[in-house]
């Protein structure tokens, strides 16, 4: 079973896709429940995978390898075979992200019960996207990574374009083109790597770039070559993360897509950018990453401050949260640029923590939107009186987002900045301004919604029902658990972290 556990996990959502395809499209309730069960299966399998995983070892575990495609290049003297394998495997980092994906997917599926109409195709796209996300994190081969990466693109395009709000199509096209450009750069990079080295396996590539000479290659590729590849990677994943100024598409998506889709998008899809930077950027080119670390730190601070400043003046709560995501992704860059244990660990913590917090916040936005039909801050006031539970969770989520001690946001921000203060104190000092700004915009938004007079015409709003409590409480519990006992996460990623940092010389 262990030999194919990861394949089963990655493709398990397809089971529900098949069932959905044969369910009549007017059976609203059964479609929704099948969709939900479709996401529970990968969650169970992800937990089994976690149990099978040996935390102490830094090796890639649960490997699977099947020969897939091989191209033959004809040369005058002899033919060279270029094989591409189907390779899966996990390390601590990818396992954590797989768990995050499967948890957020279940909760977003619960959130999707409010979707109006065409449930059948909605859940088919939703589950196909989950296959893509799980596959991205479980791949150990760049070719496979790219296929899964693109597999998240198409369903997302449909989910935004069909079930979104007013300007949904514009948002869908904007998503497609920006991400298409990112993928385009990525594809060129992968093909260049393939043609230079003759392999697309992560481990082999990292080994070739560290020690040189194997396969087609008799020497380590030149400095310029490595640096340009790294910058291309930064650009490609910078679209996904997003790094300012490549972020405009992401704002549109946050505003126009339906809330459960934004939960997935903000919670998982943005993290693929961070995952790619860590696994490929830092994993393959540690020396070059060190060279551009200062620029990355600057980009991170720009992201952090730009997002925070603009979030302060937004009138739409979805936009506040969108800019807040931009701002928080800056912290990931800051942590990575620190290049030390605390910084990189902080960045990874931030990836997970923001995944949970933004999923929770967007879930609550969905709850509010469903009841009020608007997401403008001025339309909200005094909800604590009629919706005490929802308001309470909202305040907690807002506090987690601004980094209150005891919650996951605090530990990640603290470690990222601790790391950066060690290596680049001045940049870090500028960056800390962002933390203050985060408090300003987050409290402004949360206070506007919860406190103040309750407008009379709004009438009575129904508080969270049982179906809505599950995602809200589960996410909040995870956020607090990581905040109180960060080692829970730290232990899992420790060995991966060590092997990444060993590339930088300790």
């Amino acid at each position: 079973m262990n030999e194919i556990l990861l394949s089963i996990l990655v493709f398990s959502p397809l089971l529900a896709v098949v069932v959905l395809a044969f369910t009549p499209s007017n059976q609203e309730q059964s479609l929704k429940w099948i969709g939900l069960f479709g996401t529970l299966l990968p969650l169970v399998l992800a937990i089994i995978t976690f149990c099978q995983f040996d935390i102490g070892s830094s090796a890639i575990q649960l490997n699977e390898k099947i020969n897939w495609i091989s191209f033959t290049i004809a040369h005058t003297d002899s033919n060279v075979t270029m094989p591409i394998q189907y390779e899966l495997g996990v390390n601590g980092l990818s396992l954590v992200l797989i768990l995050l994906t499967s948890v957020v997917a279940v909760l977003a599926a619960i959130g999707s019960f409010t979707i109006k109409g065409q449930w059948k195709s909605y859940f088919i796209f939703f589950l196909l996207m989950e296959v893509g996300m799980l596959g991205v994190f479980a791949s150990q081969n760049l070719f496979l990574f790219f296929i899964f990466f693109e597999m998240t693109l198409i369903p997302m395009f449909f989910l935004i374009g069909r079930w979104g709000y007013e300007n949904k199509e514009k948002a869908a096209y904007s998503f497609l083109i920006y991400n298409g450009l990112g993928s385009a750069i990525l594809l060129i990079v992968f093909v260049v790597l393939f043609m230079k080295t003759g392999t697309l396996n992560y481990g082999e590539l990292a080994n070739i770039f560290a020690n040189g000479g194997s396969g087609l290659l008799d020497s380590v590729p030149g400095e310029t070559f490595r640096l340009s590849i790294l910058i291309a990677l930064l650009l490609a994943f910078g679209v996904k993360l997003p790094i300012v100024p490549l972020h405009t598409w992401m704002l549109r998506v946050h505003v126009e897509a339906p809330p459960p889709v934004v939960m997935i998008h903000s919670g998982i899809l943005l993290k693929i950018g961070a995952y790619g930077l860590i696994t490929f950027g830092m994993g393959f080119f540690p020396a070059e990453f060190k060279r551009i670390a200062f620029s990355i730190a600057i980009l991170g601070v720009v992201n952090l401050l730009y997002g925070a400043f603009i979030a302060i003046v937004q009138t739409d709560v979805k936009k506040v949260l969108a800019y807040s995501s931009v701002s928080h992704m800056g912290i990931v860059l800051i942590g990575l640029a620190a290049l030390n244990d605390a910084g990189v660990q902080g960045a990874i913590f931030q990836v997970v923590s923001h995944g949970l917090i933004s999923a929770l916040l967007f879930f609550l936005v969905g709850v509010l939107y469903e009841r009020t039909g608007t997401s403008y801050l001025k339309a909200y006031s005094g909800f604590v009186k009629t919706m005490p539970l929802a308001s309470g969770v909202l305040v907690a989520a807002g506090l987690a987002s601004l980094g209150l001690p005891g919650m996951s946001g605090f530990i990640s921000e603290l470690m990222s900045f601790l790391g950066l203060f060690q290596t680049k104190p001045i940049v870090a000092a500028v960056g800390t301004l962002g933390i203050i700004l985060t408090a300003v915009y987050m409290l402004r938004a949360v206070m506007a919604i919860t406190y103040g007079p309750l407008s009379a015409e709004r009438g009575k709003l129904v508080d969270l029902n049982v179906r809505e409590m599950v995602p809200a409480y589960v996410l909040l519990a995870l956020i607090i658990a990581i905040g109180v006992y960060p080692d829970m996460l730290g232990m899992t990623i420790k060995s991966t972290l060590d092997s990444i940092l060993s590339g930088f010389g300790g």
Partner: protein, 502 residues
Amino acid sequence: MELETIRSYDWGIMAPELIILGAATILSLADLLMPKKASRRYLAIFAFLGVACALVALFMQLDNGVISILADTYRFDSFSKAFKLLFLIGTGLILLLAFDDRKGERDEYRGEFYYLLLTALLGAMMMASSADMITLFVGLELLSLSSYIMAGLRKRDRQSNEAAFKYVVNGGISTAITLFGMSYIFGLTGETNLYAIQNALGDPTILQNQFLLVFAFLITFVGLSFKIATVPFQMWAPDVYHGAPIPVTAFLSVVSKAAGFVIMIRFLLVTFIAAPGVAEKPLLQEVQPYLAILAGASMIIGNLIALRQRNIKRMFAYSSIAQAGYILVPFAVISGLMFEAVWFYLLAYLFMNIGVFAIIQLVTAKSGSTDISSFAGLYRRSPWIAVCMTIFVLSLAGFPATAGFIGKFGIFMSALSTGAHYWLAGIMIATTVVSYFYYFNVIGQMFFRSEEEAGKVSIPGGVLTVTAVCVISTLVLGILPHTALEFFYNQFDLSQFFTPTK
């Protein structure tokens, strides 16, 4: 020629061509002798059977080595069998499409279409398996002349007439240019056999005329670019694709285009492989920048103009110009991956493009208009057709899990394997992203718009078969591409291509 030598030839090796020739002859006689009112529709089945028999005959010959008869004017080698396979599959699918094409319901010219399609196929097959300039050219003309008539088959339709006229005029000019280039080659070498030319061009005495040689290469290439509809001979494609009946459009954009690549590779590569260039480099390396510019221009022009098209047939005409530009990339950069990259992409392109035209035929026949809005709300009306169309379009756009992605991956590999053709690969990937706009516009129409027409699109048997075959092939080639690649590697031997028989 002695009777003895003629009898000593292994005529059996020509079986696929002879079957097609026989079928075409019988069809033309049957069409002539049948009563005027009788439906010609079922002649399609006979034509299809002919193609199927030829395919079987070809499969039975797969294990043969190089066989050359009639003084190399007919040559059976791995190149010819690999590409003849594409022509036969493509034509077979198009015949099924034509069987259900009932637009206009005028049966009187149907018979002509079937045997002209077969003669065009015969021309294409001769182009694939000929190693002599004369027979190559005769094959090219047989294909062209049959296509001219097919484009104008709807005699009372103004657009069809316009298409045929433009096609004839442009085709005539391009043929003249091709012949002009060939005449230089003949003049410099005095040979018509490709391998004899190859030998003569490798001779050091040719160095006195190197400029003429480069000129001859480029002129011939430009002339042949008409068949594949790339810059500078691309402008006929939108009008002809627009005006011609849909099965003809599918034939022109798939089989005829593949045949164009075949003659280009066969003729130009075999003859010029050893030719010296103006400077120290061999000629094929020297002309690379020019070919790359033409390929890049095709991708840019095709993809950019497609953005503005409202007519679905014109849009896919420009798309096919861009696709031809992609396929030209491996030829322009000439690497060890060229043959499999071109062959695999043509195979993928065959299925996805015929699939697209099958669905266009279905949908436009229902709505009576070829405007893109005929696709509005197709998902609500006929979800399966919309899903199939989405798969084809995604494959054309080069998304993973479809054949088009593997094809593009192969092209990128060949572009980046020898030397730094980064800018050509860059243009290709950038224009691919541009192409998302119009490809996804079709998807947007089907899924996001509400329907203007009511009612389900019914799907007749022939089109259903074509769509099913194309969808399955597109997905299988995308997910398990080694099925086709292994077949190719087993069958294809590069040394057979460049060396003469004896």
